[in-house]
């Protein structure tokens, strides 16, 4: 990771502002980076897209599991398989609106961090931390930016990429815009974060037996290249319905209501997957904690595992899944109580989150970026 130097970065932010000097920025009156709050739970939103529309049926590939659940608390093997715990985090500031003649678009800047914790015996230590700051602008194919401005921004992007800069520029193509442009820009940032996660995960110094837990679902095709990796999501879609041994269909809440502490669900696949990822990934749920009064999904985590031959679970795969489930179950302590959604958290992932947050730019610094951009714009206007 390039060494962060605020003075150098401020100079780059001003240069980005210089690229926009054909127009003007109407700065946002809000100082705090509250952009993420507009979008709701991103993990759930990602997972919802997997079960959009009527195609939400998931079928069990464990016909032997008649009750639809299995106790796993006591089956943990002596050896801990999970060595690394990876999480990504974003802090976004809506700088304001760029207006150039009849064109305009929102400007957002996002600080993205990916942190990894390593576990040795029962101790955690930092394993890796990568951070970047992204200005995300609409691509010129969106017709929201003039050719000359785009050209300057693209030049600047290349320059920043080549120097391995902390601050970077990315573009959102028209094809990736769905609905509100600001939400789409945030979606782009999220995609950038996932790419960074994959990059970091791929570079971890893993021994053959070391497993990795990534926070959230396995979301990208590239993730499938990572061996010995699972995704653990503390929030997930409520949309899927489940068919267990061709019985009555169950909604997620109805199903999870019967899963107790230390039990896992059947392993599922989507019945008719269209997304190539879902063709290779199986998933199941583990209840790591019950503490009434708790909503049915409180204390439940969803686990994704790449399992290409997933028509029916083999004994060895079932054994692996039991073992994974058991180790995840034992990750319930220490808790992060009273942190929001604490029953669903596993502690090493929360530690990775804390590690990242401790290195984020201060909200004040982030809120000043727009001011820095304007300094150069105004200089050019005066000339």
């Amino acid at each position: 990771m390039p060494r962060f130097n605020l003075v150098t970065e401020i100079a780059k932010w001003r240069s980005v502002g210089q690229c926009l000097s054909d127009g003007d920025i109407v700065l946002s009156p809000f100082e705090l980076p509250v952009e993420e709050e507009r979008r709701g739970d991103p993990d759930q939103a990602d997972d919802n897209s997997n079960f959009a529309g009527a195609d939400n049926l998931c079928v069990s590939i464990e016909p032997s599991l008649k009750a639809g659940k299995k106790p796993i608390a006591g089956v943990r093997s002596q050896k801990d398989r999970f060595r690394f715990f990876l999480d990504g985090s974003i802090r976004t500031k809506y700088i304001g609106e760029y207006v150039e003649g009849p064109l305009s678009f929102p400007i957002i800047v996002s600080e993205i961090a990916v942190g990894v914790m390593r576990k040795d015996q029962n101790r955690l230590s930092p394993a890796d931390l990568q951070k970047r700051l992204y200005f995300v602008f609409p691509h010129k194919d969106s017709n929201l930016v003039s050719d000359s401005t785009y050209s300057r921004l693209d030049e600047m992007r290349k320059k920043l990429d080549q120097t391995g800069s902390f601050s970077r520029i990315e573009f959102l193509k028209k094809a990736d815009v769905t609905g509100d442009i600001r939400n789409s820009l945030l979606g782009k940032v999220r995609s950038l974060m996932h790419s960074m996660e994959h990059e970091v995960a791929g570079n971890l110094p893993r021994a053959g037996t070391d497993w990795l837990i990534m926070d959230g679902a396995i979301r990208k095709q590239e993730f499938l290249n990572l061996e010995n990796t699972i995704g653990v999501a503390k929030s997930f879609s409520r949309k899927p319905v489940f068919s267990i041994n061709k019985g009555q269909l169950l909604t997620l809440s109805a199903y999870m209501r019967n899963i107790r502490d230390g039990e896992r669900s059947c392993v599922f696949v989507k019945n008719t997957p269209t997304d190539p990822i879902l063709k290779e990934v199986v998933f199941w749920y583990v209840r790591i904690r019950t503490f009434p009064p708790m909503e049915p999904l409180g204390g439940i985590v969803k686990i994704d595992l790449k399992l290409p031959n997933n028509k029916e679970l083999s004994n060895s795969d079932a054994s692996l899944i039991d073992d994974i489930s058991s180790e995840i179950f034992h990750m319930r302590a220490p808790t992060v109580y009273p942190w929001p959604r604490w029953p669903n958290y596993i502690y090493p992932i929360r530690t990775a989150e804390m590690y990242m947050s401790s290195t984020f730019l201060s909200p004040f610094s982030l809120s000043q970026i727009g001011q820095e951009m304007k300094i150069m714009m105004e200089k050019r206007t005066r000339r």
């Binding site: 576990k119 040795d120 029962n122 101790r123 955690l124 230590s125 930092p126 503490f291 180790e327 034992h330 990750m331 319930r332 302590a333 220490p334 808790t335 992060v336 109580y337 009273p338 942190w339 596993i346 502690y347 090493p348 530690t351 804390m354």
Partner: protein, 558 residues
């Protein structure tokens, strides 16, 4: 958090042991800073640490508190983590935690500008490296470079990383004129307070023998009756410390012992030393100091005071003539009486006293009863034997480098204050008169000071000791007092003592106002001191420090 490549941070004083931390909720200030500590660092209260500061300076601090913090938001978080109160529950991983040391700021190295060194007392920013302080840092922190007078070795600082640094006091703040008097307190047996004062006396005697003399009152067994004889209790560490402090391992020199007489002409002392003089009091010695003799007798109507005054005023040429003032008034004249000694005084008729001193008839019997009680010991003689001395006279012979030890250990408790008060008044008198060959400084060591100058007392003896505490700084009469409870001695003595040595002290005592000069965390640490450890506070240090000192080189009776 664990570190895969571990070194021993305590083995190398140049390695950073942590970094300063100044979070929103507990920011560093001008008076204190906090730092998290690298794993495996062993640090304790009173250790000196040094932090990098702005402008290339360093700030030295002394550890006042060490906190173990974790990311658990509350005790309830930990309860929940342990399966809602199940002690046998095993966590998957250890919680994120760290040791955080809080330190009181002592001194900054300062930066030079235009030929002037300016210290920085701005708060230390966060993320600055912190190290164990080395000898140079510690000596700076305790202001060795600012010492005005002579450096008096006062003990050693043992750092938790093994560094040992000698500590010195400024004679100007110990023996005047900038400040004076030393007070030592602490739990009996554990606090080693008398031993510490004796160590300081030894230091002073070796550094300033041409200027200072000592008067020591021995109040317990024969503790201080062989201080000129070489002892055999020193071990290699003691000798090492003496060398480090630049002191010689030798007992006191020029010591003279004064012992009270006992029955049969033998001294009334535990284990008398080889050479000594016996002291005793004739009426002629102390006729003017009856206020000291009757100090513990209640005198609400000042009748005793009248008697004392008349005796003092009427004494002439070695005798006191008591005669009726106004014989016609009573119609019958009592026979005048000549008083030359204690027996004469006790034999004076009550009627004569009533008539001569205009007393109420019940007063003379009371005076004589008290006189009998207080002068019944062999200390009070009609005529001194050859070899017996009066301390009030002998004290005038003291010269720089001399050590006078007055043994009062076996003297009846009711008489001990009189002996102390009499010596103190003699000293006060001779320094007031300003005799030419007096020692420049006279240090008076009184153990169990609370017996002689208790809090709230206004007796003549207390007033005499308070007078020394009040005026001694400029005059050169310096009080070294020791007691278990500082709160039990007169507040003016506490207030006038510039140096306080505190051994282990109980929680009830340490909360009293006499210890107001200690902050709350120092008080907490004083309660946990070990035997032989002393917390030292001086006006020139911003925070008290903890020291140890070697055992005495003189003979100790077991």
């Amino acid at each position: 958090m664990s570190n895969t490549k571990k070194s021993n941070p305590n083995s190398n004083t140049n390695a950073a042991i942590g970094k300063t931390s100044s979070p929103e909720r507990d920011p560093n200030s001008t008076g204190k800073f906090s730092c998290w500590l690298k794993e495996d660092v062993v640090i304790n209260p009173f250790d000196f640490i040094v932090a990098e500061h702005i402008k290339g300076t360093k700030t030295v601090g002394i550890v006042s508190e060490i906190l173990s913090i974790s990311d658990a938001a509350s005790h309830l978080s930990n309860y929940v983590s342990s399966d809602f109160g199940e002690p046998s529950a095993e966590p998957y991983v250890e919680r994120l935690s760290s040791m955080v040391a809080e330190a009181n700021v002592l001194r900054n190295t300062g930066f030079e500008k235009d030929g002037r060194v300016t210290e920085i007392f701005m708060p230390i920013p966060g993320d600055r490296k912190v190290y164990f302080a080395d000898e140079k840092d510690i000596r700076l922190a305790i202001g060795t470079d600012l010492i005005l007078g002579t450096e008096i070795p006062a003990g050693v600082i043992y750092q938790s990383n093994g560094t040992i640094v000698p500590v010195t006091l400024d004679s100007e703040y110990t023996l005047g004129p900038e400040g004076s008097h030393v007070n030592a307190s602490g739990i009996s047996g554990l606090a080693t307070k008398t031993s510490y004062l004796m160590f300081l006396l030894l230091s002073i005697s070796q550094r300033l023998s041409d200027k200072v003399a000592f008067v020591i009152f021995n109040v317990k067994q024969a503790d201080l009756l062989h201080i000129d004889e070489k002892g055999d209790s020193l071990n290699a560490e003691d000798i090492r410390l003496y060398n480090l402090l630049g002191l010689e391992c030798k007992p006191f020199e020029n010591v003279r012992y004064f012992l009270p007489p006992g029955p049969g002409g033998r001294p009334d002392s535990d284990s008398p030393p080889r050479n000594y003089e016996s002291y005793a009091y004739t009426l002629a010695d102390v006729y003017s100091r009856f206020d000291l003799l009757f100090a513990d007798v209640p005198d609400p109507y000042f009748t005793l005071d009248t008697f004392n005054t008349r005796v003092r005023e009427d004494w002439d040429n070695g005798q006191l003539i008591i005669q009726s003032q106004n014989p016609a008034r009573r119609g019958q004249m009592a026979i005048p009486t000549v008083v030359r000694n204690w027996d004469d005084l006790k034999a004076v008729g009550n009627d004569l006293l009533v008539q001569a001193y205009n007393l109420h008839p019940v007063t003379p019997p009371r005076i004589k009863r008290e006189l009998n009680r207080l002068t019944s010991s062999p200390l009070f003689v009609n005529n001194r034997s050859p070899g017996q001395v009066y301390l009030g006279t002998r004290i005038r012979d003291i010269r720089a480098g001399d050590v006078f030890v007055v043994d009062i250990a076996r003297v009846p408790t009711r008489t001990q204050p009189f002996i102390v008060g009499d010596v103190m008044r003699s000293i006060d008198q001779m320094y007031r008169e300003g005799e030419s060959d007096l020692p420049n400084k006279l240090v008076i060591l009184i153990d169990e000071l609370n017996s002689f100058a208790p809090a709230g007392s206004s007796t003549a003896i207390t007033e005499q000791i308070v007078e020394i505490a009040r005026k001694g700084r400029s005059r050169g009469t310096i009080l070294f007092g020791a007691e278990q409870f500082k709160s039990e001695i007169h507040e003016q003595i506490v207030g006038n003592s510039s140096i306080h040595a505190i051994g282990r002290t109980g929680s009830a005592e340490i909360r009293r106002s006499a210890y107001a000069f200690l902050d709350q965390k120092s008080k907490q640490n004083v309660m946990a001191l070990q035997k032989g450890e002393i917390v030292l506070s001086t006006p020139t240090w911003r925070s008290p420090i903890k020291i140890r000192f070697p055992r005495p080189p003189y003979k100790l009776l077991k």
